[in-house]
Amino acid sequence: MSIREQWKERVKEGRLFKLGFGIPGPAERRIVLMSPEIAELVSGLWENTLMGDRCARLRADLENYLEGAPLTVCWQPFKGRDHHQIARLKPVEAGVWDVRSVDPSPALRVFFCLAEKDVMVALTCSPRSVPVSWLERPPLGPRECKRWKRAISECKREWGILFPGYTPYVGERPDDCISKAIID
């Protein structure tokens, strides 16, 4: 069975959720599939709290990916700067990336893998620097911190549960992975 059949099947099973626009209009030029953990965050059942504000903005950021917008990509692990919107993580052969949703505080990182070019499978979410009551996961801390490795491992594990025997898509160049990728 191809990976495409696999992710389609996971959606049918209700184990992955397909993101769409909260307000219709734009074309869906990429695909965002979400684990229940991510789907719950961006589902729109937001309370009038910091959590509601933050998750609403996270949803808008994921919809930006969905829309096919140009994205500033950190292609070399550990070289991420404030302005990168998504980043490839070490080890690159594992195919784990993160969405950097940085503003406002608390900054969040959504860990994801690509099933195919432009097909994001968003699996886990961690706060970047400060503990967040509505996320079970601890803050990631500095880049060298073990919690980063743990978060990457958890993302890989979630992928393995959903797609046993399949590896995430790993491209040679940014354009192999994401259309309209901007590297600087």
Binding site: E5, K12, E13, G20, I23, R29, S43, W46, V119, Y166
Partner: protein, 172 residues
């Protein structure tokens, strides 16, 4: 197809005497605007780049440091009305002309990459990395529009709505 206001838009559609619009929904709309404005400027810069524009040249033109220009063109949160004005005039000799439209009654776009991939076999898709099963060229059924986000009822595409949690996730 014109869709009626969905739960996200309930308060927005309520008119001047309606209930307060929840802060999270305001934040969602704000972030959409930030992203949209950022994408607009980034596209302008890429257009200029194809015609030889560099960040250094742009910085010189508008009297800023390259580092500052890099930051402005790096993330949606770094923009203000003044920086938008400077960038646009420097990159394209243009100024922003305000316009707006209502999120109510938006028409759903008829292109979905999801439906597109679903209708094509994987033979015509980008090459997979090693480890992916290749052979079967299944013709996958496109999901009905009523199940797509952007469809009237659900913000998330729920292939199965057999439990209450999934039904909850559908609401935005």
């Amino acid at each position: 197809m014109t869709v009626s206001p969905r739960p996200l838009l309930t308060e927005i559609a309520a008119g001047h005497s309606g209930a307060p619009i929840p802060p999270a929904k305001l934040a969602y709309i704000q972030q959409r605007l930030r992203n949209r404005m950022f994408n607009f400027l980034l596209e302008k810069f890429l257009e200029g780049q194809r015609a030889g524009l560099t960040k250094a040249a742009l910085a010189r033109r508008i009297g800023k440091t390259p580092d500052l220009v890099n930051r402005w063109l790096g993330a949606p949160s770094n923009l203000t009305l003044d920086t938008i004005s400077d960038l646009l005039i420097g990159m394209a000799a243009q100024e922003l002309v305000p316009n707006s439209s209502s999120p109510l009654h938006q028409v759903e776009h008829n292109y979905s990459h999801y439906a597109d991939l679903a209708s094509r076999s994987e033979h015509s898709a980008p090459t997979q990395s090693l480890g992916f099963a290749q052979g079967a060229a299944a013709s996958l059924m496109a999901q009905p529009s009523s199940q797509r986000v952007g469809g009237e009822a659900a913000a998330l595409s729920l292939a199965s709505s057999s439990n209450s949690w999934r039904r909850q996730v559908g609401a935005i």
